[in-house]
Subunit: 142 residues, 4 copies
């Protein structure tokens, strides 16, 4: 999977002269959208079908500090997908020296416009097939 | 008109150890919403009627720097209103010493859900009457 | 402990017409700063002494959706403190109906300006005493 | 001059399903930093010399609406530079159809760490020379 890059902006810093920790949560979203888009499951594609995938939870562990001018590289992997829920794991590294800045995970589900859980396997099998391609090979084959 | 207060948050600072300039634009919106809400023209009230009031333009002059822990007081005044457009002027001052931090203005219009200009005088006379109360007395009486 | 209130701003919404999930992480910080400040351990007080308390980790579980115009009330409690590390737990509720919007926790440590762990018990006993007042009574007495 | 590109993120949208207007002010900064960096006058380079360039003012006129998934292209030009002050003009266009989204300008000065105006011509002639390269050719030659 192609890693996602984010160039750190001045407005993302705080008075500790480091990136404010809330921005990593936004970078997770940037990277997630890019990866889902790359396999044809982008927000746009899915929202057009009346399906949204809200964030149910997020965790982040900050390992080292990012600073203005640096670029981070974000590895994204789908750690779980079962048709109506999925989890995504992130590792944020400094582009230059590879140092881990942050690791995290987000949990999601699929909802229709009435706010009810949608099972893609039944309701959007074409998107379901694309989601499966994001799983590690061993799980995909099961 | 009651001045609007905003307590400055840590996440609003940048690495210059001052409030990042983009936040004043957001504070203008906070103060504008509070004032419009106070006279019964809040976003909610108006959006329910299928009317939105996008920002057409903004200007800000930064006079001095705000820092974490300070509170700012924002004076809001409607500098123009003609039924389908309005301008709002802002003065942001430090609460403690009254020093001016920033002055600015935003320009707005009223649009319906099709994106066409709406004249409140005709299409929402009750909201129009409330908007008039925001004008300085001399203009209101004209 | 006095609960912290936050009025939801327009700029905090996203195109799902709900508050973007990253803002809760910022609200945690708002509430944390207010509580630490109330007992005399505010960022300003501590940073003047050359001590910072970066965020080491954050978790959030989103239980229901917040919308523009609503006010949330945030309960803050120190779930752990041992002199050089502390954890803070948050419960975000809608002010009007009490519905839980989000629960979360942040992990912190104390560092000096060289980035080394500081034990408040030794290096800032007056601040240590104040931190202890934030612990539940049973732990405080131990 | 190479135009700056910004891919619009989900967290930049608001409940009107468009990009919140405050983000354009942040994109101005992104584009400004990239251009200054490209000629060797980046924030890092200049801040190391004890010189900062705060924003004195900003104007923005919103011409059309940006949406999630779109990419904008930002043209940046230095409209004035005299050694201690400079103005930068921005045109934000949709990448695909070229439609103008926003035009704006920011005003800046150079300050030393004491907050006093710095004239680069005298105090940092090498950076002054680089700033001159950003001016339109006719002015540069004068």
């Amino acid at each position: 999977m192609i890693p996602y890059e984010h160039k750190i902006q001045y407005y993302e810093t705080d008075q500790m002269k480091i990136v404010h920790h809330s921005n990593y949560i936004r970078w997770f979203e940037e990277a997630r959208c890019a990866v889902l888009d790359a396999v044809g499951c982008g927000y746009d594609t899915v929202e057009v079908r009346g399906i949204v995938s809200p964030v149910l939870g997020v965790t982040a562990e900050y390992k080292s500090m990012s600073r203005f001018g640096e670029t981070v590289v974000i590895d994204v992997s789908v750690s779980m997908y079962n048709g109506f829920r999925f989890n995504i794991a992130y590792t944020v590294r400094d582009k230059e020296n590879g140092e881990v800045r942050c690791i995290g995970e987000t949990q999601h589900c699929f909802l229709n416009t009435d706010g009810r859980i949608v099972n893609l396997r039944k309701n959007a099998p074409d998107i379901h097939e694309k989601m499966l391609t994001l799983l590690p090979v061993e799980e995909h084959q099961q």
